[in-house]
Amino acid sequence: MALIEAKNLTKIYGKGETAVTALNGVNLAVSTGEFVAVMGPSGCGKSTLLHLLGGLDRPTQGEVLVEGQAISGLNDDALTRLRRRKMGFVFQFFNLIPVLNAIENVALPLVLDGQPAREVRPKAVAWLQKVGLSDRLENRPDQLSGGQQQRVAVARALVAEPALILADEPTGNLDTRASDEIAALLRQVANEWGRAVVMVTHDPRIAAYADRIIFLKDGVIVDETRLSDGAGHSVLTVKEKAEAL
């Protein structure tokens, strides 16, 4: 079973003559351990799709299913709980709290979920170590590079052990090198740590890290392509790979 599924997902903003169809009948299923990139020109509906998948917005038509359960039936409280426990979010501008250090930022979702502080800290430290920030635990965001801040954000997204990570242009504010590192980290999150990752990006180089690319245009999926077998192995034949490299 797919971890998250979109069925005939449609979003129309406004009414009558001024109505804008941002998303038009999108079907999509993402499995555990899979890294999917959503690509397309700006205004193609990719952010709308991510917001609907994350329950941040409600569709005009269609349905989002998380582990087989339709999320449209949930009230706001239940939806908030589902987001906090099943989903992690990574944004373009990191969205870290400036006055909190790395550990406190990562621990925040658990604190908000009512977990006691002494249990929360070791979990935050463990995730920061996994994303390669063992030596930056006590640093505040302004004492970290862009790439490091985004690593903190990835750790924060993972701390509640969600099954799904949604990333909106996670490398949009990073230089090439940091972008590659974050993309490689997200691949690890999916392929090695067994999360489903859906990432919106306009950067082909970053999309190339994914197992699958969805091409959106004018709110419709125009193409879909598989790049790897899901375990990070390229789908190219040995000969094609040799010729390519």
């Binding site: 082909p204 180089r205 190339a208 690319i213 193409d223 790979k241 490299l245």
Partner: protein, 195 residues
């Protein structure tokens, strides 16, 4: 061309045996998958370089084994190598197989140019995925050369993708314009110009 100078350069680094040169070359260019040379090609090159006086051959006596041939670079070879370094490398961009395919798709009416573009785009993404995966498998602390070579591959693939996007966006415009046709020349012997 480059194989010859690479061999010359590897001999400038230190004297080597023939079999060792082949492995050294393949290691530098990023593995035998990327650029493999046959032993025969290496030995033929060594022969030519010896004839040209760019390298000299030495025999190394070994106990209980046939003697080994070791190659050294000569002064002439060093000079040739220096000249090689002073010459830029011509890169091939203009002669493009995909471009030809797309143009023929436009004029023949057989293939759908958009599909031709999308097929190529998907293939490039797959290549990028493979290159990215390989690149991430190298440790920058001891395999920086391989990483830099893959970076170059990735940058070129990225440029190809960007070009596909631009071309796809302007496909309708291209279709409206007459595609390049050859100039029609009169057949037969050209007439003598009258003064």
């Amino acid at each position: 061309m480059s194989v010859r100078y690479a061999i010359l350069g590897l001999l400038a680094q230190r004297p080597r045996h023939g079999y060792e040169l082949r492995a050294a070359f393949e290691a530098v260019v990023g593995g035998e998958e990327t650029w493999s040379v046959k032993p025969a090609q290496v030995y033929a090159t060594l022969e030519r370089l010896t004839e040209a006086g760019w390298i000299v051959e030495d025999c190394e006596r070994q106990e209980h084994q046939p003697e080994k041939r070791v190659y050294h670079i000569a002064a002439e070879g060093r000079k040739a190598l220096e000249e090689w370094f002073q010459t830029p490398v011509t890169l091939e961009h203009q002669r493009d197989e995909f471009f030809v395919k797309l143009m023929i798709a436009l004029v023949s009416g057989v293939g759908d140019p958009r599909k031709v573009i999308q097929t190529q785009r998907v293939f490039i993404y797959r290549q990028m995925h493979a290159a990215t995966t390989l690149r991430d498998s190298y440790d920058p602390k001891n395999a920086l050369a391989q990483i830099l070579l893959l970076d170059k591959t990735l940058m070129h693939l990225e440029a190809d993708l960007r070009w596909l996007d631009i071309t796809e966006a302007r496909l309708e415009e291209v279709k409206r314009q007459p595609l390049p046709e050859p100039e029609i020349r009169p057949r037969g012997r050209p007439r003598k110009r009258e003064h």
